[in-house]
């Protein structure tokens, strides 16, 4: 930038624009503004309804900060136990399912056909939101935590398998070669060559997924798949916000504990 040639009055610097081409820049700005106008106009805001809601909001907030754990303690206890047990079982089942899936989805270990099969299974389990999958399992196995456990197991398997497969693809191949040179079988290569290299990542992923599974198990009850979500939904429908506040406080507390636990575990294995 030749600043010296410009008269001192005009000596001003402004940051370079993000998009260098003038036409493209204005076209992008116009498109963004146009989209925003369209999107904002498609929101219907009903002032009367919101005014009505405002009085409810003040009541809700007042009730929120006086959480009532006692009144529905029986329901809360069962719901929380369901959520916690669903979390444990689904994480365990997810890990067991993820092991073969991640080996199959690693391009450096699996033959092409198995690789493609495992990758498409992973994409399939990861694309649909958990709640949508839970809806289907509720129809198949009936209301209750079993539907939630199956849903979360499949979702965990896809999640862990995808991230673990990426880690397996990044491992040091000279170690595998050294093992092959000793005449090790395929299973021995996996156990002594691959597993030690990806084990820290695997434990870290398991802890991380435990955390996610609890959050998800807290809402699956909304569609009938077991857990605290059902109690939560009922309490909101009954305008029993003291109970809602108590449940939300419990959820936030447990999530915090699990997050702490999972970050400790991840720090410890790495």
């Amino acid at each position: 930038m030749s600043v010296e040639s410009i008269p001192s009055k005009q000596r001003q610097w402004s940051p370079p624009p993000l998009i260098a081409n003038v036409w493209l820049r204005y076209l992008v700005i116009a498109a963004v503004v146009g989209y925003l106008v369209l999107a904002l106009s498609s929101i219907e805001v009903d002032p009367e309804r919101i005014a009505e809601g405002w009085t409810r909001t003040s009541r809700l907030l007042a009730d929120f900060f006086q959480p009532d754990f006692r009144g529905r303690w029986g329901d809360i206890r069962t719901g929380m136990l369901e959520s916690l047990t669903m979390t444990v079982v689904a994480t365990a089942a997810g890990l067991v399912l993820a092991l073969p899936l991640s080996l199959g989805a690693a391009s450096n270990l699996a033959p092409r056909a198995i690789y493609l099969l495992c990758r498409s299974l992973i994409i399939f389990t990861r694309t649909f939101p958990e709640v949508v999958i839970a809806l289907l399992f509720v129809v198949m196995v009936g209301f209750g935590p079993l539907a939630g456990v199956i849903t979360l197991s499949l979702a965990s398997a896809g999640f862990i398998a995808k991230l673990l497969a990426e880690d397996i693809e990044d491992i040091n191949s000279s170690q595998l070669e050294a093992m092959r040179a000793t005449g090790a079988s395929w299973a021995q290569i996996i156990v002594y060559g691959v597993a030690p290299q990806v084990l820290p990542r695997f434990i870290g992923l398991a802890a991380y997924r435990l955390d996610i599974n609890f959050r998800e198990s807290a809402i699956l009850g909304i569609v009938g798949a077991g857990g605290i979500g059902a109690v939560l939904r009922t309490s909101i429908r009954r305008y029993d916000f003291n109970t809602t506040g108590a449940i939300l406080a419990l959820i936030i507390g447990i999530v915090l504990l699990l997050e702490l636990l999972s970050s400790r575990i991840r720090a410890w294995v790495q």
Binding site: P15, G53, W54, R56, L81, L135, M140, V141, G144, G226
Partner: protein
Amino acid sequence: MPVYNSQQGLIWHYRSPKERVIYAVAWLATLALIAVCWRFISAQTFWIFVQDAPEQAGDLLRRMFPPRWSYINELWLPLWDTLTIATLGTLLAIILATPVAFLAARNTTPHGIFRGLALLVIVSSRSVHSLIWSLLLVFLLGPGVFAGVIAIGLRSIGFIAKLLYEAIEEIDPRQVEAIRATGASGSQVLSYGVVPQILPTFAGVVVFRWDINIRESTIVGLVGAGGIGLALDSSISSLSWSQASVIFTCIFGLVLLSEWVSARVRKAII
């Protein structure tokens, strides 16, 4: 790596005897925990309903196929609404999360109290799922897209603010110092010293969250907060599974599209 003398000569074991005992106890404890949790879930399950699950699944598939493709003409508006909820919700979250992130970062926060408050906001926003936010907001603001936008926005604050404040804490302090040495004011230090350093991370985080929000905005309709979930809820409650399968296809397409877009954008940034 322990090596032992035995009658056959030197023998190598993966773990020392003490390690093996510890591992065995840990495994037993984990398995026992899973068994206890499974018993609880099993007690909460109506196994009679589970027994005919294969029939139910077959019945479901028969009802879903062939999908009633003509139904897609009624889905364009819900799809547009879903996109709106995700995009405007992300925008709302950006507006709210940026100040929270600057308050939460150690090197830009004005005082420890603000940092504590900002961290509290981040934790509560992250622990409460968007479906729970939607349940509450539908009650307060009335059903519709508006409640969905606010729910997605509130939910995303924690995610965006957390990743952003971690990026702010990792910036190069020398650049900030250099700007300050020129006599720049506090806001100038922020906009020329801090912001350019975190802009790539910021863009990456926003696109990543938008991708997640597309997924979440497909389900907030299940509790009345607008978008394609609303159509899914009404199709399922009226047992029109041939319509539901069209909706599943749309969700699948939408999620794949958003994943593709976010992968492209992130590649362009990095």
